[in-house]
Symmetry: C2
């Protein structure tokens, strides 16, 4: 299957708009989903390339090998929850301003070896 | 304005379904949004009442008094980002299984003094 990031070319969001980018992602190799260091690097690289500023983080390893990783951002948060037994992950980015959410998701998808993604963008309120 | 949590009575989600609950929330008093300890307690109480298990957390204080708080859950994550200057907050809960997302959001809304909320539920993939 080809990588499906249909909205990747969407324009940058103005500073007054808040958006949630929800990505459900299927990967070729579950090894990408059980390696906390690799996931942390992937999240941080995705944040950097999407012009997101990281101000904190929290990670947790689950008994099945799955990992939850959350980066706290100056522009909200970026999270991943992995399901190695399903070769699957849920990714969420809440952001505003000059953040390019699709660059963040595309970078992360590439770094964990996605073969298919489903992205939902939710327009959020801001004040 | 009255509290608007229209979907609060929705049935519990089966273990095979993943959902994102996105809540945009307006509060009466900005003081609720700049107090990290109060927000942390509100998040943890909401998690407990919604049968969510907390396995980690990360918080960050911003120069404008705003706070970002993320709880890492056995069932994914619960986050809040506050905008005291707008008396406003964005809340996200990603969950599955026996979690009652609407109880989590309702509890949190009450604890931070919401006068209005807008909730969007996104059905997510899971494998």
């Amino acid at each position: 299957m080809s990588l499906d990031l249909a909205r990747r070319s969407q324009p940058t969001v103005p500073a007054t708009e808040m958006r949630l980018y929800a990505m459900d992602a299927w990967v070729a190799d579950a090894a990408a989903l059980v390696d906390r260091a690799r996931l942390r690097n992937a999240l941080r690289d995705a944040a950097r390339l999407g012009h997101v500023d990281v101000v904190g983080e929290a990670f947790h390893d689950f008994p099945n090998g799955g990992v939850t990783g959350v980066l706290v951002l100056a522009q909200s948060h970026l999270s991943i929850h992995t399901w190695p037994e399903l070769r699957f992950a849920n990714v969420d980015l809440l952001s505003y301003g000059s953040v390019d959410g699709h660059v963040v998701l595309e970078t992360l998808a590439e770094r964990i070896g996605c073969v298919r993604t489903k992205i939902t963008v939710v327009e959020r309120e801001l004040g």
